[in-house]
């Protein structure tokens, strides 16, 4: 088989998509007007698939901080955290994130993907076992694979199933690492974290919670599911990203285990990735301050979320199990999902289109991410478009 033969099925799929006029997996954003509007293919479009939950991408303080950092420190660090890439801003951000979570230790990474790769592969090796929720993000799967540990899946959000699989491990369970997500990115459901912590405690295992989609969204101070559920001190490791509510790019891990610092030496993704540019760190620090006092943004976000979720439910769409700023409409076939995605696009609305195998249960998803920066008028336009397209979307192929 030639080197490129493996791409043939992908090439066919892409050809079919492009023949529809626009590539859903590479929407050409030509100009960005605001956190919720852009020009795509020459058309003004509402952005409802950007993970920009708090709408801080154009926050004045974040912009000013980024501009100042570029002027004062240049455009990049040109090196990894391990070498010349740890500027004072990186270290200050680590202290601020640790304080935000009331944790002892924090490490900042260049992307959220890298954070999971670095932390998981740094913590576990081929003598360990990691139990992951079946709906885990790809970065969790990849981090586990890089670690060389035994990877055991448990049924999605099912503490009893987790308990059963830990029990089968015998003595190995006491050193196992369990990984869950605060809000799962596909269906937008919260982890049953309190019950999972009870299971973890009963075996003496460790728990890592990925708050990528829940940071800024849940909890009085926006610290995610661990705050909402009152269990910050009971998660061994909390991982997250800067690229959603914090409106930049990067990732972090916090912990009360002093050994977290050794990730800096033991983890290849940390050692061999260039660190974030100073401007990214500076805007992230401002955004972190904003989300801590972001009760107003969260109130708007949840008002929009509840409105949209109820409207889609009333319009007959099959949705994820609970209202959440990640709202997924589940379609039986790729064709139905593509028709809905295209219809929304023609109505001037950009959302995410997701096909199996990236989706749970083999269904295709049209996924909305709600933003506090959406206006009530934009939310009504999205509601209207979904209602108009409900029949088309559900039609048989």
């Amino acid at each position: 088989m030639s080197l490129f033969a493996k791409f043939q099925p992908l090439a066919q799929d892409r050809e079919a998509l492009l023949s529809q006029g626009v590539d859903p997996f590479g929407a050409p954003i030509e100009e960005i007007y605001s956190p919720t509007e852009a020009r795509i293919n020459g058309k003004k479009t509402i952005l409802a698939g950007t993970n920009n939950y708090l709408g801080l991408t154009f926050d004045k303080k974040c912009l000013d901080a980024a501009h100042a950092a570029i002027d004062e420190q240049g455009t990049g660090t040109t090196g990894s955290r391990m070498a010349n890439g740890s500027f004072s801003g990186h270290r200050a951000l680590e202290k601020e994130i640790a304080t935000f979570y009331t944790c002892e230790k924090a490490i900042v990474f260049t992307t959220g993907y890298q954070a999971n790769l670095a932390v998981i592969s740094g913590l576990a090796n081929n003598e360990d076992v990691i139990l992951i929720d079946a709906d885990s993000h790809a970065s969790i799967y990849d981090g586990c694979q890089l670690s060389g540990a035994d990877i055991v899946r448990f049924r999605h959000n099912n503490p009893d199933d987790l308990h059963k699989r830990l029990e089968r491990l015998g003595e190995r369970a006491a050193n196992a690492l369990i990984i869950i997500e605060g809000i799962y990115s596909m269906l937008g459901d919260r982890a049953r974290i309190r019950e999972i912590i009870e299971v973890k405690k009963s075996f003496g295992a460790f728990l890592l919670v990925d708050e990528a989609h829940s940071l800024g969204v849940l909890g009085e101070k926006g610290r995610g599911l661990v705050e909402e559920a009152g269990v910050i001190g009971e998660a061994d490791f909390i991982v997250g990203t800067f690229s959603k509510s914090l409106a930049s790019t990067g990732g972090y891990c916090v912990s009360n285990h002093p050994q977290l610092d050794f990730i800096r030496y033991a983890s290849r993704p940390y050692v061999f990735t260039a660190s974030s540019p100073p401007s990214v760190i500076a805007s992230t620090r401002e955004a972190l301050r904003r989300i801590e006092k972001g009760g107003d943004l969260r109130a708007t976000l949840w008002k929009h979320t509840n409105r949209l979720y109820k409207h889609l439910q009333d319009s007959g769409y099959e949705l994820g199990p609970e209202p959440c700023p990640v709202i997924a409409a589940l379609l039986h076939t790729r064709e139905q999902a593509l028709r809905l995605w295209r219809g929304l696009y023609e109505h001037g609305i950009y959302v995410n289109l997701i096909f199996p195998p990236a989706t749970p249960g083999g269904k295709s998803l049209v996924r909305i991410s709600v933003s506090a920066a959406h206006t009530a008028e934009q939310i009504e336009k999205i509601c209207h478009a979904f209602t108009t397209l409900a029949e088309t979307a559900s039609a048989s192929d």
Binding site: I151, V152, R153, P357
Partner: protein, 84 residues
């Protein structure tokens, strides 16, 4: 509890036949992905059922070398009979 190769093979064939498209014939040499149309997550979900059926732990990593129905049966047989 150790199980015979035949018992495992019968069980796996039965599980797989419920997953493949109508009209697709199963054989030992059938490729899970290319011939049976099973994407990686369908195989991973099948693994959850297999673990419960045989009361074993079968880490996802063990699937790296599994391409055909026979590969899968061989691997499960190996794990089932090495479990205490």
């Amino acid at each position: 509890m150790p199980s015979s190769y035949e018992e495992i093979s019968t069980k796996i064939t039965s599980e797989l036949s419920g997953l493949v498209p109508p009209g697709v014939r199963l054989s030992d040499d059938s490729e899970l992905a290319t011939e049976l149309g099973l994407d990686s997550f369908k195989v991973l979900d099948l693994l959850l059922d297999i673990e419960d059926e045989f009361d074993i732990t079968m880490p996802v990593n063990l699937l790296a070398d599994v391409h055909t129905v026979k590969d899968l049966v061989d691997k499960i047989h190996e794990v089932v009979n090495s479990s205490p």
